[in-house]
Structures are given as structure tokens and as C-alpha cells.
């Protein structure tokens, strides 16, 4: 079950985005905590000292990589520092300390002018409350980043038409933001952020302001769009289930610090502490666990059994198992690796629910 993480995380290629030891301290003279460019003491001790001084460490030693084409989710409750981190990535908020590498280039070394260029071409962002210009129509909002660059009319028309179609807003081009529903407004926000075809796509709680049903729809839409575009994504949310639905890998934050980073399955099966375990309580395990994670090592040979793909969810597996009480052969990368039986599924689920009852 670790190979997914390895594929995504430290694969051979250079990551699209790489954050190293990001700190953001709000308070008087925040630089004082980082003499000679390095934190003086260990992270928890330093964060504690900063708090005692009456300053706020909104982000404390945050490091992560985002691979090309990966959806990386930062999950945390309000005040956990997730929004600060995502704003540090585009330097909307100036980090106090740390390194941000986009395609190997250090963003913090860039001048304001160069940053404008980076934002114009390489990074797109979606906001929780949409951040639409109230005085511009849908079309004008989506075209806004292009018009700021002074892009050619033809190019603008082609790009805007394309992304509006992508988010399914054809026919609403002339409407104004206040005439649209929340879901439609966020579609405009998404279209705008994609208009310049950025490499890195930041989404700051994009669906949190929407109703649950619409939220679900928008998550599906988002995954569909990502399927076409293969952007490198940093996705912020406070909703654990949403994180599970969209994440390739995710990072949990609390009080400015990283609690745990890993694939959704890793987090559920091996929560780093009670805080993470708390979130996993509500998660329906049958949806998260995959066939390859609930195999039975003692089931014997896989010969003659029906085959099933390794990344099928347990939820989908159950009816198949009921039709094949003898068990199924789990297939990964074209070869059968193990066997799954009704008993092994029950055992895995029982083990997990025990963990929840009495967290270690």
C-alpha cells in the first residue's frame, strides 16, 4: 500500500512545487527569530517562544512537495494556518522564512516585478468567496487576467471561450456575479484561474461556501476538469471527507504546524496521533480502503479464482465477495498479488474500528 505514495512523492522527476521550512510569523520584527537565516531552535520550542512574545506563528516549519499532475490537499480547521501557507506560495503573504521552489526556481528571490510575471503566467488561484469583480460580467471576469497582460484579442477570445465551456457556463457570459448562484460564481472563479493556463493551480477552500449537494457536484466537476488538464494542484479544505475524495496526497495542519503528510489511506490506517485519528472516526472505511489493502495472506493460492483490480474500493468489493464466497484474486499491474476473502475484509474493518474505539 505504500507504492502510491512513493510514486507521487519522491518520484524521479523534479517536483513542480517544493516548499522548504516555511515560517510565517505575525508580530513585531518577525525576522529576529531567524538569525543568520536559520531558526535558532527546534520547531515546537521556537513556536512556543514566538507565542510567549505575543506574536503569532501562523505557519511553522511547513515543508512539502507537489509533483507534476498531483492533487495535494492541505487539510486543517480554521486557524490551522492552511490559508496562510497557500498565500505564501504565491507570495500574497510574504513568508518570514523558508524556500519556495516552483520548477526549481526560488520564488522568494524574485523581485515584485518578476512575481507579477509569475502570477500572470504560472499560478492560478481560486478563492473561498469567489473574489469576483462585482463590476464585470462573467466574460469580463474570466478575461480579466488576460486583459491585464494586454493579451491579443483573438487569443483572449479563444482562451475565454474555451475555459467557459470547460466549466459549463456557456450562455451566461453576459451575466453579472450577483445574478449567479454560488455554484455558478465559483465556476466563474475556476474559469478565471484557468484562463492563463497556469502550471500550478491553487484552490483555497473552493467549495466551502456552497451547499452540500452543490459541493459534491463541484467536487466531481473539479475531478473531471483535472482529468483533462493534469495541473499540479494545492487544494485547501477544512472538510476531511472532501480531502479524501480529491486528494492524491494530503497534509494535516494544526496550529501552524504539519501534523502528518501521506496518502488518504496512510492517514486512516496509520494516524500519526489522536488529532488525526479524531478525523478518521467519521470516515466510512468501506469507501476508503482498497482491495489490495484488505488481502488475506493465509488464503492460499490465487489459482482459479475470479480476478479483481487492486484499487477497487471495499464498498464495491462486498457484492462481488457475496457472489464468490471462496474469495477473489487481487490484481495489481497485470499480475495477481494476493487473495481477498470475506473474512479478510471483516478482519481489516474490525481492526480499524477497534483502533477508533480505543486509540493507541
Amino acid at each position: 500500500m505504500n507504492d502510491r505514495a512513493q510514486d507521487d512523492g519522491s518520484g524521479g522527476d523534479q517536483p513542480r512545487l517544493s516548499c522548504r521550512h516555511i515560517w510565517k510569523v505575525y508580530g513585531k520584527k518577525p525576522e529576529q527569530y531567524f538569525p543568520d537565516g536559520a531558526p535558532a531552535v527546534e520547531t515546537p520550542a521556537l513556536a512556543e517562544r514566538i507565542r510567549e512574545d505575543g506574536a503569532i506563528p501562523a505557519a511553522a516549519d511547513v515543508s512539502f512537495d507537489v509533483a507534476v499532475g498531483e492533487i495535494f490537499v492541505i487539510m486543517g480547521l480554521s486557524g490551522s494556518g492552511k490559508s496562510t501557507v497557500v498565500r505564501c506560495l504565491s507570495r500574497l503573504v510574504e513568508p518570514t522564512h523558508g524556500e519556495i521552489l516552483l520548477d526549481g526556481e526560488d520564488l522568494r528571490a524574485k523581485s515584485d516585478k518578476q512575481m507579477i510575471e509569475v502570477r500572470r503566467h504560472q499560478i492560478g488561484m481560486v478563492f473561498q468567496n469567489f473574489g469576483l469583480m462585482p463590476h464585470l460580467s462573467v466574460w469580463e471576469n474570466v478575461a480579466f487576467p488576460l486583459s491585464l497582460q494586454g493579451a491579443a484579442q483573438d487569443h483572449t477570445r479563444e482562451r475565454v471561450g474555451k475555459v467557459i465551456e470547460l466549466v459549463g457556463l456557456e450562455g451566461r457570459e453576459k451575466s453579472y456575479p450577483h445574478q449567479l448562484s454560488g455554484g455558478q460564481q465559483q465556476r466563474v472563479g475556476i474559469a478565471r484561474s484557468l484562463a492563463v493556463d497556469p502550471d500550478l493551480w491553487l484552490l483555497d477552500e473552493p467549495f466551502s461556501a456552497l451547499d452540500p449537494l452543490i459541493r459534491r457536484q463541484m467536487q466531481d466537476e473539479f475531478l473531471r476538469i483535472q482529468n483533462d488538464l493534469h495541473k499540479s494542484i494545492v487544494f485547501i479544505t477544512h472538510d476531511f471527507l472532501e480531502a479524501l475524495r480529491v486528494a492524491d496526497r494530503m497534509m494535516i495542519m494544526r496550529g501552524g504546524r504539519v501534523v502528518q503528510t501521506g496518502t488518504p489511506a496512510q492517514l486512516i490506517t496509520n494516524p500519526a496521533d489522536d488529532y488525526v485519528a479524531e478525523f478518521t472516526n467519521d470516515v466510512p472505511m468501506v469507501r476508503v480502503l482498497r482491495a489490495y489493502e484488505v488481502t488475506d495472506p493465509e488464503a492460499g493460492s490465487a489459482e482459479g479464482r475470479e480476478r479483481v483490480a487492486g484499487d477497487v474500493s471495499v464498498e464495491a468489493l462486498l457484492p462481488m465477495l457475496s457472489a464468490h464466497p471462496e474469495g477473489l484474486a487481487v490484481e495489481q499491474g497485470g499480475t495477481v498479488t494476493a487473495v481477498v476473502t470475506a473474512q479478510s475484509v471483516v478482519r481489516a474493518l474490525a481492526r480499524l474500528s477497534e483502533q477508533e474505539e480505543a486509540p493507541a
Binding site: 498565500r87 469583480m133 466574460w139 487576467p145 497582460q149 484561474s193
Partner: protein
């Protein structure tokens, strides 16, 4: 600040006041601030002003000469245009921004100016507004933007704007006159000074209030600093900025009459002013209506233009549909210019067709005044003897066989004291300490009158109130302000201002809030009150004065009514708005608990709306002060009168001291009510 400590301070104050009053015959310095202690501030100010005029005078005069060009140019244009063209263009503009209702109103309003024979004067006034508003808007926009970007600038600009708005306009007419000379341009400069603050405020407010995510979205789109300002911030703040333009324009209109005091020549403000001075009521009303109508038309047009930026435009709209109103206006102008050549009637409305019903109106007024002389007199004397004089001079001096019909005998006085003491004591026993303090203070005030109280007591009450509302800082500020009034030697006038404005504000607030409460429960009443409030608010201050002068002649009572007529508007508005804004769930919860309508009002809605009510009180005071200055014209004897005297005698020092004094009182009242409102909001968790 614990409740007990303030209570003890109040008790001490009441006790000391009574002691001081006991010795009032022997200790004169306790009753009146000794003249020997006053500073010669008037002289200092005059010397300073003389120096400024001598050194910088030529530069100011040169500026005034430059400003004469746009002024005469616009005047020339408006006089050259046929009246039919001007009226027509305004009607088209009204239709374009709003619809046929406003167009009809505009037509009737403008046509009134033509028919009444005031077209020439109206256009002169319009020229003043047309030059001063763009100037004020441009200056205000720049200053407001500067305040937005620089915290340091903001710290200077905000108090400066506060002061510009609270110092009565009369007070700075004279310095302008001394610096810039005489003539229409001086009126222009006064208008601009008065009209700039709302523009500054709204610009800054609009820029501050933009959704943070919109700014971030702009940054993420890669906006440069210039693009950020012109393409993100300004368009997002446009609505608020246009509101500022609207308010700036109303301010400019309200200055028309005042500006004509120093720069008036054959404009409509001058007409109103001369007729008021001559007590020609009908003529003053006819001219005053012109200004009111002009202000209303311009207000409605700009307000609609600010609100209803209808999103009907789009990429594919053709040139003709997009600019249809401009095309109509251009064609209309061309046709009308030709027609005016052919039919001179359209160029200059014939004298013979004018209708000027002043004489008939005066006859009618006189008939009314004679017919209802008894009733009018009864109203006036009742108010005077039973309300105004007791507050001003106290029951002690008011009650006499001549006024109340009996002698205020010694046993009666003792009876009054015992009754009041008993009431206060009873409240104290029931642990309603604040109520007891209030009763005691009111009893003392009514017996001795505000002019009969020791100066230290009045100052003490104000400082203690300030302390309760805003803590030590406000108390210190209030003390400094009051000290200024005393040292400058205008304490007696300030007391009269305090009395007149205080009484008017108290009554307006009481009546206005009651009306607001009714309006909040009854849509019909609300719909009935709204246009009245709107009209009173757009009406220039002088015009409000006229009908009261007509019925009640000159004097304090007329002043009181005029102040009330203007100051009642915010009381109504804020009460209705506050009560309607109470959380619906709380109302439902109270209904579910079985609250009667009366309980709902007194125990749920009013307490929850208290911060808004206090803000309403704040605005009531500010409106009251603004009108108070104007009422100097009907012969009050307060600070406003001092300002007016200073202006008429060309005595800069006298006018300025009184002006600053008035501003000081206004600012103290403003900070105090705001402080109470903030405290209330905090207590209700709305802060």
C-alpha cells in the same frame, strides 16, 4: 471604572452643586466664570489673521482670479443655452437613469423656475454648483485615496475633515472673505471647502471596504500597482464613491444661500437671503422652493445613477443601442438650437407669461395669521412658559402671576424640594441608583434653570458623562474643550447653545424615535414618512426656517421648531432601521415565550436596537447643531449669533472663537454618544 465609583462621583457632584447654590449670593465666581480669568484669544486670532492676510494675501487673490475663468465660462454657457434646451436635457437625463416618473418630476421642477421668473438667477446658482462639485469631487477623491494608502496621512486627514464638517460654515466664511476677496469665486471656495469632506470619507470608505479576496484575485491575475488601483480598487469601490459625489452635490446646494452672504450677486441664494431679511415670507418661499427643487432633481438623478448601474450592456450591443440616450440628447440639442432661433419664446421665456403669486400668497398668509392669531399665540406662550423658560431660567424665575397665574410661594418651593427628594429616595431604596441620580439632576435643573447653575456643575455633569461613555481619555478631552469655552469668554453663549440645542434634540429624539417605532411596525406609516424625511433632508437649511418664521416671527421658539424639523429625520430613520434590524429569530423566540406586543417592544426590540438608537441620537445632535447656527438669523443669543455677528462686523476673532466653540460642543456630544453606542454594541456582542 466600576459602577459604584461613578455613583459616588455623581452623589458628590449633586451635593456640591446644592451647596454652591446655597451660597450663590455670596460666591459670585462660583456662578459665573470670572472675567479676569479669561484669555484675550480674540485678539491673538485677529493679529494672526492680519499677518496671514498681509503675507499670503496676494497669492490667494491670484488663485481667486484664476478660478474666475471656469466660473464665468459656465455662467456664460448656461445663459446662452435656451431654457427649453436645458430643461429638455435634464429631462432626458432623468429618463435615462430612472424612467418617466423622474422625468416628469424634473420637467415640472425646472419649469417652475421658468414660470416663476427665476431662470436667470437659478442658472447662476447652478453654475456655482456645476463648478464647485467637480472641483470638490476631484480634490476629495485625491485626498481620500491618499488617506487610504498612507496611515500617517489618514491620521491628519480624518480629524481635519471632522473639524471642517463640525465648524459651522458661517465661521469660515469670514477668513475666506479676508483671504480671497469678494465675489462669486469666494462663494465657490466656501462651497468646495464644505463639500469636500463627504467625498473624502466615501472614497476612503469605498476603498477600505473592498472584499479582500477581490484584491487577492487582482494580485493573482498579475495586476501592476496602477492596474490594481484603476482596474480593481476603483471600479469595486465605485458605488460608494458615487454616493460621495451625490452627498457632495447636496452639500454644495445647501451652501448656495450661505455662499451668497459673502459672494451673492443676482443668484437664487441672494434672493432668499434678502427676502428673509426683509421678512417677505411669500417671496422667500418662492425663491427657496427653487433651491429645494433644484437640489431634489440633482439628488435623484445622481442617486439613481450611482445605484442603478444596470448590467444590461454587453459585448454584442450595437453602437446605437449603447449610446441611444446620448444620440437622442445630441439630436434634441441641435433641433432645439434651431427652433430657438425661429421661436424666441424658447430662448427667453416672455416676462408677460410669468406667474409670480407672491402678493396673493402674502395676503393669504396674513389672513391665516390674523384668523388664527389666538391659536398661534397660545401655542407659542404655552411652549415658552411651560417648557422653554423653566429649562432656561428655572421654575424659580418663571413662575409668576403673569405667566403661570400664581405666585411661587415658599411652601410651594419646599413642597417641590420634598417631593423630588422623596422620589429620588424611593428610587434609591429600590436600588435604581441611576434613576435616582437622574431625578435629582432634573429637579435641580428645572428649579434653577440651566443659566442659573454654577459653571462648575454643568462642566462636572459633562465630564462625568464623558467618563462613563469613553473612559479617561474622553473625560480629559471634554475638560480641555470646556476649558477653552470658559477661557475664551464664550461660556454664557455656549450655555444658551447647549440649552437650545439640547432641548430641541431631546424633543426631536423623543418624537422621532416614537415615530420610528410606529413606522417599524406599520408599513403604511413607514411609506408615508419616508418621502417627508427625504424631502426634509435634501431641503437646504435656510428654506426650512422660512415657514416657522412666518407663523411664529423671530425668537427662540421659532429656532427650536426649525431645529426640531431638521433634527427629527435621523431619529426617525435610525429608530425604524434599528428596530426592523432586530434578529428575526430572537423575535420568534420571544413570541414563543409568550411576550405581548408591549413586552416585545420594551423588553426585546428596544434594548436590542439600543446601539442604533444611540447612533440616531448622535446624528440628531449633529443635525441639530448644523441648524442651530442657521437659526442665528431669527435672533437667538447663542454661539451661532456670535458667529453671525463676527461675520457682519468683519471681526475674524469673534466669529472664529464662536465657531470653534460650537465645533467643540458638537464634537464632545459626538464622541459621547458614539462611546455609549459602542459600549452598547459590545455588550450585545455586535461589536
Amino acid at each position: 471604572m466600576s459602577g459604584d465609583r461613578t455613583h459616588w462621583a455623581w452623589f458628590a457632584l449633586i451635593g456640591l452643586t446644592l451647596v454652591a447654590l446655597g451660597f450663590r449670593d455670596r460666591l459670585g465666581w462660583l456662578m459665573e466664570f470670572p472675567e479676569a480669568w479669561e484669555w484675550p484669544m480674540t485678539e491673538w486670532l485677529n493679529t494672526g489673521m492680519d499677518w496671514v492676510v498681509e503675507t499670503a494675501g496676494p497669492a490667494f487673490r491670484a488663485f481667486s482670479d484664476v478660478m474666475d475663468y471656469p466660473m464665468s465660462w459656465v455662467r456664460g454657457l448656461l445663459h446662452w443655452m435656451p431654457w427649453a434646451l436645458t430643461v429638455g436635457l435634464l429631462v432626458i437625463a432623468s429618463f435615462a437613469v430612472s424612467g418617466w416618473k423622474l422625468a416628469v418630476f424634473t420637467f415640472l421642477a425646472m419649469f417652475y423656475m421658468v414660470v416663476i421668473g427665476y431662470w436667470y438667477e437659478s442658472m447662476n446658482s447652478l453654475a456655482l454648483v456645476m463648478v464647485s462639485v467637480p472641483l470638490a469631487v476631484a480634490i476629495g477623491f485625491c485626498v481620500g485615496t491618499w488617506a487610504f494608502y498612507s496611515d500617517r496621512a489618514e491620521r491628519v486627514i480624518t480629524p481635519t475633515m471632522d473639524t471642517l464638517q463640525t465648524i459651522p460654515v458661517f465661521a469660515y466664511l469670514l477668513p475666506i472673505l479676508l483671504l480671497f476677496g469678494f465675489g462669486p469665486v469666494v462663494g465657490l471656495i466656501a462651497s468646495v471647502l464644505y463639500a469636500v469632506p463627504p467625498m473624502v470619507r466615501n472614497t476612503t470608505l469605498g476603498l477600505v471596504r473592498i472584499d479582500e479576496e477581490v484584491i487577492e484575485a487582482g494580485m493573482m491575475a498579475g495586476a501592476t500597482a496602477g492596474q490594481m488601483f484603476w482596474r480593481v480598487r476603483v471600479p469595486s469601490a465605485l458605488r460608494q464613491i458615487l454616493l460621495g459625489v451625490n452627498q457632495t452635490m447636496l452639500a454644495a446646494f445647501s451652501m448656495i444661500i450661505i455662499a451668497s452672504i459673502i459672494g451673492g450677486t443676482s443668484d437664487i441664494g441672494w434672493e432668499v437671503l434678502t427676502h428673509i431679511r426683509k421678512a417677505n415670507v411669500a417671496e422667500a418661499i418662492l425663491a427657496g422652493v427653487v433651491i429645494a427643487l433644484m437640489a431634489m432633481v440633482m439628488d435623484r438623478i445622481t442617486a439613481r445613477a450611482a445605484m442603478g448601474r444596470s448590467p444590461d450592456g454587453g459585448e454584442d450591443e450595437s453602437f446605437v443601442t449603447r449610446y441611444r440616450y446620448w444620440i437622442v440628447a445630441a439630436v434634441f440639442a441641435a433641433v432645439m438650437l434651431v427652433l430657438a432661433r425661429v421661436f424666441p419664446v424658447l430662448q427667453d421665456y416672455p416676462r408677460a407669461w410669468e406667474v409670480y403669486p407672491a402678493d396673493a400668497m402674502n395676503d393669504a398668509f396674513n389672513w391665516l395669521l390674523v384668523e388664527y392669531a389666538g391659536a398661534i399665540k397660545a401655542i407659542k406662550t404655552t411652549a415658552l412658559f411651560y417648557l422653554m423658560l423653566p429649562v432656561k431660567m428655572g421654575l424659580e424665575q418663571t413662575i409668576s402671576p403673569f405667566s403661570w397665574g400664581f405666585e411661587f410661594t415658599q411652601p410651594m418651593k419646599i413642597g417641590y424640594a420634598v417631593a423630588m427628594a422623596a422620589l429620588a429616595g424611593w428610587l434609591l431604596l429600590r436600588r435604581r441608583v441611576r434613576g435616582a441620580i437622574g431625578v435629582a439632576l432634573l429637579a435641580i435643573l428645572l428649579y434653577f434653570g440651566i443659566t442659573g447653575l454654577p459653571w462648575l456643575s454643568i462642566a462636572g455633569v459633562m465630564v462625568l458623562l464623558a467618563w462613563q461613555a469613553g473612559g479617561r481619555r474622553l473625560a480629559v478631552g471634554t475638560s480641555v474643550g470646556l476649558a477653552f469655552l470658559m477661557l475664551a469668554g464664550v461660556w454664557p453663549e455656549a450655555t444658551i447653545s447647549f440649552y437650545l440645542c439640547g432641548l430641541a434634540v431631546a424633543l426631536s429624539f423623543l418624537i422621532g424615535t416614537t415615530l420610528g417605532v410606529i413606522a417599524s411596525e406599520n408599513d403604511a406609516v413607514s411609506a408615508f414618512l419616508r418621502p417627508i424625511s427625504d424631502t426634509l433632508q435634501t431641503m437646504p437649511l435656510f428654506v426650512i426656517l422660512i415657514p416657522f418664521v412666518m407663523f411664529f416671527k423671530l425668537g427662540d421658539f421659532t429656532a427650536l421648531l426649525a431645529i426640531m424639523a431638521y433634527a427629527i429625520v435621523p431619529a426617525i430613520r435610525y429608530a425604524e432601521h434599528g428596530l426592523r434590524g432586530v434578529n428575526a429569530e430572537v423575535i420568534e423566540a420571544a413570541s414563543a415565550c409568550g411576550a405581548t406586543r408591549w413586552q416585545m417592544l420594551w423588553r426585546v426590540r428596544l434594548p436590542l436596537a439600543l446601539p442604533q438608537l444611540l447612533l440616531g441620537l448622535n446624528q440628531t445632535i449633529m443635525f441639530g447643531v448644523a441648524m442651530l447656527v442657521i437659526t442665528a438669523l431669527v435672533g437667538t443669543s447663542d454661539l451661532g449669533q456670535e458667529i453671525y455677528i463676527g461675520l457682519n462686523n468683519g471681526d475674524f476673532g469673534v466669529g472664529m472663537i464662536a465657531g470653534i466653540g460650537m465645533a467643540t460642543l458638537a464634537m464632545i456630544a459626538d464622541r459621547m454618544t458614539r462611546g455609549y453606542s459602542r459600549k452598547g454594541q459590545k455588550a450585545l456582542g455586535q461589536g
